[in-house]
Symmetry: C2
Subunit: 228 residues, 2 copies
């Protein structure tokens, strides 16, 4: 391939970045992790958590690495949202950025990282102005999440491994931005036998207590049909 080097070298090269739209769920609200940069360039600007792709990394590997650096978590659900490449989207240099939608259980997130990264969990309904096209990335990531949450078991990534049906429902409501009928919702849950009732009870959110459920992925794989 050596002899065709000029074929490639006649074309320009760009920085390629990863931006993570990290979703979490707490207090009935869908949140995302944003950062107010305390370093140059763009100090003080609100932005998504990101990083650059390295020479020796697949872009998905880079996304996993960046996400791990920012959240401390491994084996996290992430999906590519899209790629953003306006010429002037980053005034410091030509940067093409690939956005990823990341879903984490907010309780597994080490809050100390917020100090280190100067980052915050902000409700998606009350985001500040943000760096260039980062609002577009968030919008598109949310659309992706909305499209998936009713048809694939992705919401469980935002919950603890044991959760109540009320938590699951309020999660769906927060993602879809609309309220859901409780009895209809539970009827649909009941049709999916991979959402398993345990005999454990959570009493933190009510006096009566609510049964805890878990998502059984291997059972789901045997008959992967999901509708909520």
């Amino acid at each position: 391939m050596e002899k065709f080097r000029s074929f490639y070298e006649s074309h320009p090269r760009f920085h390629v970045a990863i931006d993570c739209v990290v979703f979490g769920f707490k207090d009935r609200e869908l949140k995302i992790l944003i950062q107010q940069r305390n370093f140059e360039p763009f100090q003080g600007v609100w932005s998504l958590m990101g990083g650059f792709v390295r020479e020796d990394e697949d872009i998905d590997e880079a996304a996993r690495r960046v996400c791990n650096e920012l959240t401390g978590l491994k084996d996290v659900y992430m999906r590519q949202v899209g790629t953003y490449g306006k010429v002037d989207r980053d005034p410091g240099a030509r940067v093409v950025s690939i956005a990823y939608c990341v879903l984490i259980d907010i309780d597994r997130y080490n809050a100390q990282l917020n100090m280190m990264n100067n980052s915050y969990w902000e409700n998606i309904t009350t985001l500040p102005d943000m760096f260039f096209d980062h609002k577009d990335m968030i919008r598109d990531a949310l659309k992706l999440l909305q499209r998936k949450v009713s048809r694939e078991p992705v919401g469980f990534n935002l919950l603890p491994s044991l959760f109540t049906l009320t938590q699951l429902q309020t999660l769906h409501e927060a993602i879809l931005g609309e309220s859901i009928d409780k009895r209809n919702f539970r009827k649909r849950v009941g049709e999916m036998n991979f959402i398993e009732k345990t005999d454990l009870v959570d009493k933190t959110s009510s006096r009566r207590g609510a049964y805890l459920y878990r998502f059984n992925n291997s059972e789901y794989q045997r008959n992967p049909e999901f509708k909520l």
Copy 2:
């Protein structure tokens, strides 16, 4: 920003390419435009039609330019599918490639371009082995198209501006890979008043002749609800 140049320069840069998954529809078959390269590198390998992003171009502009160079057409429907960035996906150099799904009316395509580009219309069901991840791009572009065709008026981009309902139905069948009940299909068409019957008749495909319809986009915009 000058003083932060090193912030960027400490990170690597990559070639960024566009690959177009160009769909066409003819003889009841969904086809895509592929090219057997008659130039180095990778001479003889089947691949999608592509090109590199330039310094002064947004990626969407680059996609439009590349698509225009390859099809001769302007103002075509195109949507980003995803970005493919495995380290070794192109052995000649590190190239990150953004795939676009492109829908054209195959009758507007100048067949002479096939000579110039060494390109062909191949049925999606009978594709040859292809360059690295180009099959993945095609699979993902087809998924995108399948997801959209029933809920948004995108199929019309693959048809002439006047079309019969049988053409529209066989197009949907080709995209979805399953047969559709004729009466149910036409019932749904009848519910969308932006699919307008003309008094023109096409007699090329049957003795009786079939009424020609057209898609009225401004009527659609007044009440954008689509279900087929």
